[in-house]
Subunit: 248 residues, 2 copies
DNA sequence: TAATAGAACTGGTATTAACCAGTATGCTAA
DNA sequence: TTAGCATACTGGTTAATACCAGTTCTATTA
């Protein structure tokens, strides 16, 4: 156990150390609320300096794996594992948690000129084109939501149906293919009633209540990259999120 | 302009510096996407070491005021100001944003033994008591939501109607009076239909769609302190949140 | 015996120093 | 003129060191 740190690795030492500690937490080497070794102990154990140790602990504290108490120690967080933004809001993840098999039908992928209000949110000039992706989201092969994404790609960039079918995740494509890393998003949720067309696609009655989820996603430089609208069947979907206090 | 750092202040230098930079951003000294002085420039300008500078910038980056680009500089984030967890999920804030006057009616405050499922979530032993607070939330004096909070207080701790009327915010009371700082929360949102009683309190018809918001809030040591259920009128409320990617 | 002072831990803040790794720019050589 | 490389910026990582500030426990003292 207790892997060591490779000083020649391309990965920063603090990240290597964070990974080691994270693995030990996940392997339940320490119980929740139990103290991990003190910063000075880790310093000699791994032969790295205290600032490096603290950088690793800072990182894991932000991820929610550890919490600190001044004068007492650093402790393993009792929370079940944290999930990142994508996982938490991911359709697939939510469904699997409820024991349903996720799926999707890609209805269309095409370049369009969306409404002015959407272009404004995407910070694109009036009249410009974005990629629109229409999908039906499935749970155990029956429809749960209608998703329409507007993706602000650069000149010459393209996402194909094959890309989407292969990876399944739009975010993964944005990261791998275009180095656009979804970092932050503003979301709203509200109730609307199903139109006749929506009702037909979702196999429900017109005027049945739907959960409308709108999200504007930003990349690592705070430029908007995607605006998405998802209409969920009110009787088959529950939205789950985790909030953090941003101060300190 | 450009206040200086008081080395004798009880506040840490990095926090003083963060405050100064934050004020300059809010005063729009720099435009969005404009670079702030480099870390080395700030070092000589404020006569503090670079690690201290970086601590201040780290902090403001986490709050969303700044973003960094390796090799290029540190830039002012174009986002409208970030709000902390309370503000974001605060009923009052959301309403004011929509031009409505927030208000509340405190229906009852009492010690109760809640259901086993709630006690389990609050990590309290079976049969123990928690403080239940029932409120009606108002917008422009008409009802918008029904809120029921279950607060896990320690022995001898108490929250009175007067406390709540004076401060308005349960979170502020928890912080000021009991040093319980809400730090993280798990939320779910789903659609339900109004019962006869709920409909009467909210001035709507039975079976009208409602947005059910459940939240479990944790303190700085990841102990659950509050479980709250809020039923919102579907036609008068929109839930707003901001998501972050937790990795790196 | 009980209260208290202090030692010995814990994490928190700050400095100095050095080097690595991306990015932009201007000069030089083809 | 232009491709490419050197350079001088930027932030990113790591170290060694010192001292401050809470917490806990023990040994001393009243």
């Amino acid at each position: 156990m207790s892997s060591l740190i490779d000083p020649d690795s391309s990965a920063p030492k603090y990240m290597q150390l964070a990974t080691i500690i994270k693995q030990q937490i996940e392997a339940e080497i320490w119980q929740p609320r139990q103290a991990i070794p003190s910063e000075r102990q880790l310093e000699s154990q791994y032969a790295v300096s205290r600032p490096t140790i603290r950088q690793a602990i800072d990182y894991l504290e932000r991820l929610g794996y550890l919490y600190r108490e001044h004068g007492r120690g650093t402790f393993v967080s009792p929370q079940k594992l944290q999930k990142g933004m994508q996982e938490l809001t991911s359709f697939s993840e939510d469904l699997q948690r409820r024991g349903l098999q996720p799926g999707q039908i890609i209805r269309s992928i095409s370049w369009v000129t969306p409404s002015e209000s959407i272009l404004r949110r995407l910070e694109r000039p009036s009249g410009s084109q974005v990629l629109q992706i229409d999908r039906i989201r499935l749970g155990d092969d029956s429809p749960i939501g209608l998703q329409t994404s507007f993706v602000a790609l650069g000149a010459g960039e393209e996402i194909t149906r094959t890309d989407l079918e292969r990876s399944g995740s739009l975010y993964r494509i944005l990261e791998d293919k275009f180095n656009q890393i979804p970092t932050e998003a503003d979301e709203t949720l509200e109730i609307t009633l199903a139109t006749v067309e929506e009702a037909a696609l979702l196999h429900i009655k017109p005027d049945a209540p739907l959960l409308l989820n709108e999200r504007l996603t930003y990349n690592q430089n705070r430029r908007p990259i995607e605006f998405v609208k998802i209409l969920y069947r009110g009787d088959r979907y529950r939205y789950i999120t985790r909030l953090f206090r941003s101060s300190k």
